[in-house]
Amino acid sequence: AEGALEGQTILIGNIAPMTGVIANYGTAVDNGIRLAASEINASGGILGGTVVISTKDNQFTPAEAINGFNALLSEGAVAIIGAIASSVTSAITGPANDEGIVLITATSTADSITTEDDYVFRACFKDSFQGRMCASYAASQGWTKAAILYAKGDAYSSGLRDSFVAAAPDYGIEVVEEQSTSDTMAVDFSSQLATIAASGAEVLFAPYYYDTVGPKIIPQAREAGYLGAIIGADGFDGTQDVAVGDLTAYENVYFTNHYSPEDPSEVVQNFIAAYTEAYGAESLNALAALAYDAMYMVAQAIETAGSLDHDAIRDAMAGMHYVGVTGDMTLDETGTPDKSVAILTFVEEDGKLVQKFVTSQH
């Protein structure tokens, strides 16, 4: 159906925390989506139709996400990419199903976000998978005594912790020490890390975000005398930009990620080049990559559907196969992609910290 949408505008909504404590994620995702959209438009649009992005700030609050969702709906959005944090996203999954509009989240990893037979999809993998991959990698390195440090009140952090704990016995890993903070905004982990250092753990699983990991957890861990491996999930992406002090502290740190910036494949390098050119390297991370993919996935679904009919787009979305920056993926029956995870580490190069690809796991 070449040119079936010729001359039409295709309104895609984006709901993200554009201001407030996690505004950095909001901007990264918005950039990723807009980059993809402008590429699509530059190459003739979707079936001739022009993609237009409308972004609604959800202020990291469920109620505002609902307002944004409703506003997008009445503006006539055909699909919505949305909400970063699982806690906020879950407030609009119900409405998306009720209204029958595709909602694809780039970054919400909570298991319960997607269910079978509905309008909700995602571009990232889910927590239970990522936590399991971390455990599996640890086991493959022969680390059997693990310590955990996580943010109890944060869905991302505690979700990963739950899945790591669940997977640990399967890989013969013993959790010898568990410490927590109430949220991810904590700045001082010395107390917890001192206890962990004394526990004799060989690996520390610390599912936090890079702004905490880079300047705080890793240096504080080394300072507290913990010299073992530190492993985390996609939240570690970006740590290299906020590393401080002695960079040798960042050795022996591993994390799972959606893609590796080192990946020589054309999509990845093209994305990195285009993103850096448009928005600079500062906000370039896996979230941006996922959002970029999410936009392309929506585009692919519309193209397959050949129309802007909501149900047709949903049907095209279900079970879709897609090759993008964050890998080669197939959406499973719930709408979560089945794809491989990259294990990355940090090394010092010319006095700067950079990510290095270690292995890929499935």
């Binding site: 905004m185 001192a194 702004d211 906020v242 590393a243 401080v244």
Partner: protein, 299 residues
């Protein structure tokens, strides 16, 4: 035992940062009875000043910590501007509640303005340079670092200096007089407005020093870094006895210790809640804070 001492040192270190910030809160509160909600944002302003100035000053061959002087100047300027443009006009017309709302407004403006300014933006920025001498040291078998030691010493030093300033200098006494009765202070020949401006300069300056300590320790700045930090520091000030300089110091140290020990021995995720539980318990026994004298109202 070593582990316990280790936790105590950690507590003191966290506590001294709180204490330094609490001093600024206490100063402003003490004089104009205003919970300056924007104080946390002053710290943020100080943090970003450090972030930008450290590379510049190090380029001139100066040590990194000298950037604190730039931070003090910028913070003081922001504090004075807030006072002149927002607090003073409102204070003239309104009541204390109005002033509180203005403080909330100023806090929101500063925080969001920082996010809106392109070269600051929402992304956290790391301070990659060491602000003080780096490295760990061994103190009677307890493992700590120079930054901690400097932080504790500087906090103590600032407190003593401030205490002397308030009680021994003329400006200090004027501040206390203004804090009690503005009209009577005017009759004594005190320039009330100038005294309040000076208070803001000192308070904001202390926020800059607090920012230095924070950055030396935690190595990153972010537009929202001041909120929780400021809140805890304010709690510290109340715990010790608001308006009292040694009270702020004691309160800060206590909050730090409670946090470290609760984290180590009770439950790390409940540490925040337990800090407040302790605060409430203390206030029940000593309604004016630990060092506060409960001057009953003369009927």
């Amino acid at each position: 035992m070593t582990e316990f001492l280790q936790q105590v040192i950690i507590g003191l270190r966290i506590g001294s940062v709180y204490a330094l910030i609490a001093l600024g809160y206490t100063m402003v509160y003490g004089i104009i009875r205003l919970i300056n909600f924007a104080h946390g944002e002053f710290i943020m302003v100080g943090g970003y000043t450090l972030f930008f100035m450290i590379p510049v000053l190090m380029g001139f061959g100066l040590p990194a910590w000298t950037s604190v002087f730039a931070a003090i100047i910028i913070c003081a300027a922001v504090g004075v501007l807030a006072e002149l443009l927002a607090y003073r006009p409102v204070r003239k017309k309104g009541n204390r509640m109005t002033a509180l709302i203005t403080a909330i407004g100023v806090s929101l403006i500063l925080q969001n303005l920082a996010q809106a300014i392109p070269f600051i933006g929402p992304n956290p920025k790391a301070i990659t340079q060491d602000i003080f001498q780096s490295g760990r040291i061994d103190l009677f078998g307890v493992n700590t670092n120079w930054t901690s030691i400097f932080t504790i010493i500087i906090a103590a030093f600032v407190m003593v200096g401030l205490q002397l300033f308030i009680h021994k200098t003329k400006i200090g006494r004027a501040m206390r007089a203004v804090s009690e009765n503005k009209a009577a202070s005017t009759l004594m020949g005190i320039n009330v407005n100038r005294t309040i401006v000076i208070t803001f300069i000192i308070g904001a300056g202390l926020a800059a020093v607090g920012a230095l300590m924070y950055c030396a320790q935690y190595r990153a700045v972010m537009t929202t870094m001041g909120s929780m930090l400021g809140l805890k520091a304010f709690v510290a000030a109340v715990l010790g006895g608001i308006g009292l300089i040694p009270g702020a110091m004691l309160g800060g140290m206590l909050i730090g210790l409670i946090e470290a020990l609760v984290t180590a021995y009770i439950s790390s995720s409940l540490a925040n809640a337990l800090v407040f539980v302790v605060l409430i318990l203390v206030l029940l026994v000593k309604p004016a804070g630990i060092m506060g004298r409960n001057v009953g109202e003369k009927v």
